[in-house]
C-alpha cells in the first residue's frame, strides 16, 4: 500500500535526521554542512526569510541536513510514491513532525516561511494549492526548492 510505503520513506528521512543530529555522519554540528548547490536567484529570494529567522547555528545545520535528505528522497522517488500534492502534504507533515520534534527549538514563523518557499517554488500560490498529480516539471521544482531550503539553512549555520 502506498501509505505504508510513504511511512517507510518518512521513517528513512527521520532516521537520517536523527542520525545526523545526534552526531553520526558529521551533521548536526556546524563544522560539516551538506554540499548543497547554490540555488538560482529566484529560489534564493524565496528562501531568504528562512535564513533571516534562523539564529541558532546548530538548529540551522540540523534543518540543512534534513531538507538536503528530503530533496534527495523526493528526487530518487521519481514520482513512484509521492504522486500528488495531498500525498506530498501527508509525507511532509509526518516527516517533519516525527523527524524534527524536539530536535530543534521552534522559531516563530519558521514553518510558514519554509512552507511558503516550497509552495511558491513549485509554482503554486500559498493558500490555494491544487490537489493534483505532481508532474515531472513540478517535481523538479520541488526538489530545487527543498535544496534551496537546505541552502538557506546552511547560510544560517555558517
Amino acid at each position: 500500500m502506498s501509505r505504508s510505503t510513504l511511512n517507510i520513506l518518512a521513517i528513512g528521512l527521520i532516521a537520517a535526521a536523527v542520525y545526523l543530529h545526534y552526531g553520526g555522519g558529521g551533521g548536526g554540528g556546524t563544522d560539516t554542512l551538506p554540499a548543497v548547490p547554490e540555488p538560482s536567484p529566484a529560489v534564493k529570494s524565496l528562501v531568504a526569510p528562512i535564513t533571516a529567522k534562523l539564529t541558532d547555528k546548530e538548529d540551522a545545520a540540523t534543518l540543512a541536513w534534513f531538507y538536503f535528505d528530503f530533496a534527495d528522497i523526493v528526487e530518487r522517488d521519481a514520482g513512484k510514491q509521492i504522486t500528488t500534492t495531498p500525498v506530498l502534504r501527508d509525507f511532509n507533515r509526518n516527516s517533519v513532525t516525527l523527524g524534527l520534534s524536539g530536535a530543534i527549538a521552534p522559531v516563530s514563523g519558521l514553518a510558514d516561511a519554509i512552507d511558503d518557499a516550497i509552495v511558491r517554488g513549485m509554482g503554486y500560490t500559498p493558500g490555494d494549492i491544487p490537489a493534483s498529480p505532481i508532474d515531472t516539471a513540478t517535481r523538479a521544482k520541488l526538489v530545487e526548492s527543498l535544496r534551496g531550503v537546505s541552502w538557506a539553512c546552511c547560510e544560517a549555520a555558517r
Partner: protein
Amino acid sequence: MTPQNLITLYESGFKGWIDDPAARESFLADYPTVEFANSGAIALRGSGLGKRALLWRYRDLFDPGAFGQEAQTTGDCTSHGTRNAFDTSRSVEIAVKNEPEEYLVRGATEAVYGARGHGGQGMSVAVAARFITENGMLFRRKYEFADLSKYNASVGIGWGRSGVPAAVKDECRKHPAGAFTKPSSLDDVCDLLFNGYAGATGQNVGFSGTPDKDGCSPRRGTWSHCMATVGYDDTKEIYPERVYFIANSWAKWNSEPKNWPKDLFGPWPHGLIVCRASDYGPFIREAFYYSNIKGFPAQSLPDLGTPSEVLG
C-alpha cells in the same frame, strides 16, 4: 420494512434482481471489450490468486458503518448493490490509488433504480451498469429536482414509471463509472478484487443469517437479488476454502461470525455474507466490476502541512 420482512419477501420468490438476458446481451454487444478476457483486465490475470482483498474497509474509512445502514425499502436491491460497488471502488481509488479526489458523500441509489425502464419492482444489473456507465451516479445531497440527502425509494419508483428526467441524467453524467469489466470465472473475480475493483452481481442464491462453524454463510433458499462483492480471501489462513465477501443491502439482517478475525480484518461490516467459493459460481453470470470512477475533485490545499508546532 424490517430485515425480517426483506428476508421473507425474497425467500417467497420476490424478484429484486430481474434476470433479463436480452438486456444483458444487448449491453455486452454494445461494449464487446468488457469481458475479462477481451479487456485490459487480462493483464491482471493471476494477480489475485492465493491472496486477499478487503475492499469494504476503504469505504468504511470514508463512510463508517455504511454497509449496515440504508436498508432497501422496495425492490431496488440492484441500485443498492451497484451503488455499494461504485462507492467501494471509488474509495479504493482515493485511499489506495491516490487519486486526487474526495469521497465527500455516499452515492445515491435513486437515479439508478429510476433507470430500470418500467413502473414495477426489480431491475437487471446490466441495465444498472449501462446507466452508471453512460450516465453516472447521484449522491446523498439535495438537488433542485429532488432531495436525496436521505434515501427515498419513492423517488426511484417514480422515475421508473416516467423515465429518468433529462436534468437528472445531466447531473449523473458528472460522475460516471469510467470502466467496467465482466468476469468469466471465479479466478477473474479474485484478480479484479485484488486490483481494487468491486462489483455488483445478480443471482438466484439465498443465504442463512447464521454463519456456520467456519464463519461462512450457509446457502439457504433462493433470492432473486443483487448484491455487491467487496472482497475475497484466497489465503486459506482463516477459511478452509476461498471465500468471497458480499455486502447485502438489508442492514442488520444476519449475525456476525463468531470467528470473525477482527484483528486482521477490522470490524465486521453489518450484513456481510462470507460466501464459500463453492457457492459463488452463480455470481459471475451477471456481474460487473467498476473502475475509473469520476468522483469529486479534491479541494485546494491550504498549505503543504509543514507543522508550526515543530518548527514554530
